[in-house]
Amino acid sequence: MTLDVLYFAWVRERIGLPRERVETGAGTVAELVAELRAREERYDLAFSDLETLRVALDQELSDFSAPLAGVREVAFFPPMTGG
């Protein structure tokens, strides 16, 4: 499947791009993260501590154990600081 993967705030800065198309067979967010980490050091660093990251699937907050079936857009970002 092809996913749009988006990065925000320091995740975007560490990986060095705001979004990309990713071809993957990952079944869950955690599996997608493992694939990305295996690519290059900058991904490995960005995802080194999942406690400091949040994930949204199709623009809804989710979690790393969530399945990716039917998902089109995955976003990774740090805890939000609005207000």
Partner: protein, 149 residues
């Protein structure tokens, strides 16, 4: 209730004009509460703040938060304006307004909106000063603040 109004924008807004036009001219509103968030410079060294957001999800998340507040406190009207982009100390970042029959509902709903905006709306703040730039870290008390609701 009237359609909740949600605005995500880079432009500044006129708080006075927004407040003056909110919740007035109707017979079912007994209380209006408004809140204005301003860029604060605690250390006296902040040059500017840059606020990033997630277009699309931001609007959806705000709509969900406003819908929940509207349902829980039977709001007659609500307004959320949140800016993104570059902001300087003293500039308005965001505002919330709630209109209800009674003041307790208007106050509580405004606090609820603020608490949820802080931790559940996809905005990220970066502060720029003489030493460089730093992303503002989320505070554990902001996350804990959600528990009271």
């Amino acid at each position: 209730m009237a359609d909740p109004r949600i605005r995500v924008q880079a432009d500044s807004f006129d708080y006075g004009r927004e407040v003056a036009g909110f919740g007035t001219g109707r017979r079912d509103v007994g209380a209006v509460v408004t809140f204005l968030g301003v860029v604060r410079d605690d250390a006296g060294t902040l040059d500017r703040m840059e606020i990033e957001h997630y277009p699309g999800m931001t609007e959806k998340a705000l709509a969900a938060i406003v819908a929940e507040a509207t349902a829980r406190w039977a709001l007659v009207d609500a307004l959320v304006i949140h800016r993104h982009g570059t902001l300087r100390p003293g500039e308005a970042i965001m505002m919330v307004a709630t209109a209800a029959r009674h003041r307790a509902a208007a106050f509580e709903a405004a606090e609820f909106l603020m608490d949820y905006l802080k931790s559940r709306a996809p905005f990220w703040k970066k502060e720029f000063g003489p030493g460089g730039a730093d992303w503002v870290a989320a505070k554990t008390e902001d996350e804990a603040a959600l528990d009271r609701w």
